[in-house]
Symmetry: C2
Subunit: 339 residues, 2 copies
């Protein structure tokens, strides 16, 4: 990341590091057991890195309504574990061999073990949340459980929508937004809401946080789409142009398909989803997308969702103003991190 | 099933049918949504049949301590949904093409969709349990959630233990019992305990139910191993000798490997796990197993676990004696069904 960003987000990044350390410790306590090889497979990607932005969001949203940081971390660990479960299964499905700079779980342990390791993490996320029962009123814990179930269901639906979109040449931006909200936004939303629910925040505050999370979640994914086209393998920790190879209908691809000439459109479609596409073909497809102005369009869309998110957050009535400020910084960080 | 069994278990089977109908209705309400194809994949095996013995156990254990049948069904549906999630992923891993007389989910929708459909059911099980929050005290619902998480974790561990056992030639009966308890028994135990927990049963009663469930669960799996060797494809709804083809260390195989001559042992080992074994090879392996007396040994082991289970059940202090009687019948049914 550029030096000026590190400076701008100094306070956020220090706090993020603090929360990440606490979260990692919590996860290490939860994700252990027998047989050892299964647990090693399950925790592999977690140990390989990750920004822990979801637990950070849980802790901050919790703090906004008076939840002690310690409980926010316990709940945030549950969300992070759930997130990593989705990564293991996604990597199998997308045939991704590299994530966070390391070989993926199915590459190291085989698909069968990777399926079960993902299932184990899924269950461990619920176990982690259940541990809150010793520290928070049971009716809040039940609500938090329900939010985690909802997020898991929604993520699966989002994944299935994406499968369907990969197969179709015609996809609208609205369909993309729905898919992205389900696949990525819902879990980010749950991260925030679980923190606020455990703190006992009133319903109208939960709704404002939902709107914030929805906006940031969508902006985040759009940003991810952009980075997948414009960043480097070194920065991403995985190959660039993966999205093109997998035929993903990113917002950039959807925009480009609508704005290219019929001939160029055919050219792009022929590379989209071509598993054995060469580096040259991928670069040509990427350039076709870029020349339509898709990147600028996507950046602008991300900005719109981002601004709506910030406006919702500014409307909240927190007891801890510093936590809200950090959550706002987190939003900015998400949108600026790739620049 | 033989006519005399139908008569002996007449009352149980009538009640099982009643609970199955209520359970199916509940599941149909929970497992629906968009995209439709994902939900069709998720509910496919559930619609194809299944005895719904787990929800029946939930309802009966709940009734034993005063839980209304209606709430037992809601909780039982959660357990049944979770069970079917494990079947979808198991079928992918075991490359099974047929279950309950129909093609498996990955055969019809492909592995990628089957992984997600399983994940969806997993999440839906927790959603289903969360619906109890409207009807039961939240501290009981939290305990039920924790039991369902525990069962999911334990099933994954059991599956991983089995992977490991498939690879090894030397496996002990103790290892088998641990694996079977985790892979099959734990979810049956959770089925009972969730019913009793929601009813507010005291801890000492939960422990007796655990012992009952553990015994029945293990006896059930031993029985399943026996049926896999001695039944017909028509009765099983799946090919016989699958276990041999997959190299599973069933209790029969473990016993046979210990009691065959070195030459015959080598012969059996050469067919175990041979994916392209011919019908003749499979039959020869099955005969080697049978001639050691493994079937009789396994039946006897099942009986021991079964009797311990019954003794624990008879020790309980239920408020609904009829429910306990039916649960005892359920135990007998499990052990006698294949005869």
């Amino acid at each position: 990341m550029a030096e000026e960003l590190k400076e701008r987000f100094g306070e956020l990044l220090r706090y993020a590091k603090h929360v990440a350390e606490l979260t990692n410790r919590t996860i290490e306590e939860i994700v252990k057991g027998e047989p050892q090889y299964l647990y090693e497979a399950a925790i592999h990607l977690i140990r390989a890195g990750g920004k822990r932005l979801r637990p950070l969001a849980t802790v901050l949203a919790g703090r906004m309504y008076g939840l002690p940081e310690e409980l926010g971390v316990k709940a945030g660990a549950a969300v992070e574990i759930l997130h990593n479960f989705t990564l293991i299964h996604d990597d199998i499905i997308d045939r991704d061999n590299l994530r966070r700079g390391v070989p993926t779980v199915h590459v190291l342990w085989g698909t069968d073990v990777a399926i079960i390791a993902g299932d184990l993490l899924f269950a461990k996320a619920f176990e982690a949340l259940g541990k809150l029962a010793e520290h928070a009123p049971p009716e809040r814990v039940v609500k938090a459980f329900n939010k985690l179930s909802w997020a898991s269901i929604t993520v699966a639906e989002g994944q299935a929508l994406e499968f369907d979109m990969v197969k179709r040449d015609e996809v609208t931006v609205d369909e993309y937004i729905t898919m992205v909200y389900k696949k990525t936004g819902a879990l980010f939303e749950a991260s925030l809401l679980i923190g606020a629910i455990l703190a006992g925040a009133p319903q109208e505050e939960l709704e404002k946080l939902s709107r914030y999370a929805r906006g940031i979640g969508i902006a985040f994914q759009i940003q991810d789409d952009i980075l997948g086209l414009t960043s480097t393998e070194e920065k991403l920790g995985k190959p660039v142009y993966n999205d093109i190879r997998e035929g993903k209908k990113t917002i950039l691809v959807i925009y480009a398909l609508k704005h290219l000439s019929p001939e160029e459109r055919g050219k792009l479609l022929s590379t989209l989803g071509k598993k054995d596409a060469t580096r040259e073909e991928l670069e040509e497809a990427a350039n076709l997308i870029k020349k339509t102005g898709a990147v600028e369009y996507a950046k602008n869309e991300a900005k719109k969702y981002f601004e709506d998110a910030l406006s919702a957050l500014r409307d909240t009535k927190p007891v801890d103003e510093e936590a809200r400020k950090l959550l706002e910084d987190l939003g900015w960080y998400v949108i600026l991190r790739g620049k």
